[in-house]
Amino acid sequence: MSAVTAEKDAYRAGFERFALSPLAASEPTWLRERRTAAFARFVETGLPTPRDEAWRHTPLAPLTRGRFEPADPEAPPEPGVLSLLPDAGPRGPRLVLVNGRLSPELSRLDASQPGVAAMSLREALATRPASLEPWLARVADGATGAFADLNSALAGDAAVVLIAAGAVLDAPIRVEHVGGGPSGTVAYSRTLLVAGRGSESRIVEVFASRADRASLTNAVTEVVIEDGASVDRCKLQQEGGDALHVATLAVRLGRDARFYDHSLVLGAALSRDDIDVRFEGEGSECVLNGLFVVDGRRVADTHSRIDHARPHCSSRELYKGILDGQARGVFGGLVIVRPGAQKTDAWQMNRNLLLSSEALVHSTPQLEILADDVKCRHGSTTGQLDPAALFYLRSRGIGEAAARGLLTWAFASELLRTLRDESVRAAVEKRLQERLPGVAGLVEATS
């Protein structure tokens, strides 16, 4: 029996166990069918291999060579992990998922904020199944890959956030995924956000684990933005140094809708983000900003796919990487402009800063343009700190290490400035000051 078959069989046994559980048996037929279909797709395609173009530059072995047992959803959060989370503030819903299961004790579901309903998948299925059926495991579908399929098949719970039409939320919604089961375990963590027509909301998703264990987080976030609505999302990934993190973000935008995403990849040994954005109405806009910071032998990989299926939409994408040691970065960005998607305006840029000569980046920005009246640009730069700028700073009396720190901070700060949430920005700044050489005390340096 080949290793691949053995793995599939292990997952199959896991899926069968799950499908027979009382939890799964209580689910509506449509969901059970979607789980079965997702698992069938996984069996069909299997885990990715180095031959898959989208995984060619990513060291896959830690994800595929072992078997990951589902983490115990009853287990309490790791000691101390909650203190790693940014201050959640006094207002707004807060949903805490421990190894993928929503913890009512740690969460703040009744935030008395009109226009938003926050709950576990269980509660949502019991009370508002009709709000879920059009979207759950539909937004992230067959196009999003094997890990998303596994999550759709196996995630027993989810954070569900439903925003009423026209609601304007001033406090952000927090979804905090904490875990870190023992090595060799996997947590399927999931979020569904449905933003009703004309609503405005912010969501902050944090992934945190503390201990240095080789556990896997397999996360899926589905975001639906109905006509005229706007969603500002921030993802902060600060998992432990040996953790594995594979996340899928799937977004569907209606007409005149807005989506802003800020992704901060600051942790895990191997971090992979797949982003899938589809414009399904005209006049919509999407901004994807991301920063990853890796050192040692860590790997950060972002693959994005923006599908301009409709005309008159614009997308802006800026991903920046800071790499030290023997770290590796991968950026694969694809912008598709469908036939008839005229007046598409797309801009895509990847910039990487190498702090050591052994760090490595694979960057492939890509445009696939099938309409003729469009404005599309893309680019990619990878380099070290500018020697002219370094000398300029030193010639004014600033020491070399401080000058390097200042320029590194300046490189990162372009993206930090776009973070609207004060406590998240403070948490990210603190984290970066711990992680990057020479940047301690530089918060006020940038402008």
Partner: protein, 257 residues
Amino acid sequence: MLEIRNLHARAGDSDVLRGLDLSVRKGEVHALMGPNGSGKSTLAHVLAGRPGYTVTAGEVRFEGRDLLALAPEERAREGVFLAFQYPVEIAGVSNIYFLKAATNAIRAHRGLPELDAVEFLSLVKEKAKIVEMDEELVKRPVNEGFSGGEKKRNEIFQMAVLEPRLAILDETDSGLDIDALRIVAHGVNRLRGPERAMLVVTHYQRLLNHIVPDFVHVLVDGRIVRSGGKEMALALEETGYAWLEKEPAAAGPTARP
């Protein structure tokens, strides 16, 4: 204050300075003129310690210390300042933070306490007036989006804040219209003083109408071939450099009028 003896230096792979001698005492303003490629800017960069330049022979003493043994930041802390011909744009770093970091690094070296935010701000306000520097520019990222004139003003503004002992002005007049030139020169003149020396590197005489030097030196092929008083610059403006190149080493390198 500054003693340069028999300085030979390479820029990249080519020999540029070939036995340069120069002596500058405190309070003096020296102009260094010469045709393109004669080594003026190379000298400025060698004195500031720019990587990519190699000294192959000779020595430079600054206040009695071996200047060439110091890192660029140590030279700055000792009081050497280079006003760049092409100031560098640094996106994302605010001018004011940059200057505060520099000021406090230099103050620490001199055994002075750090300036707090309030003290530093009042220092900046005072010094910005010297070059009529807009306070908005002070807050912006270093040189980013500045016009040519604003960049040069920013250099002199930095010089005013950092109060160097030796200021080297590398082609500070290049790219300036006459109004900007007047403002920059006025700022430089305000910073002249008995404890401060200046080395003004320029291709053209016109800057020296505004910053009147005590001494003028002409650099040809990496050596000083003529030294004289301020009137020599005027003579050069009329005749050009060609006649000098025909009679190298016509004057003693440290000749004083």
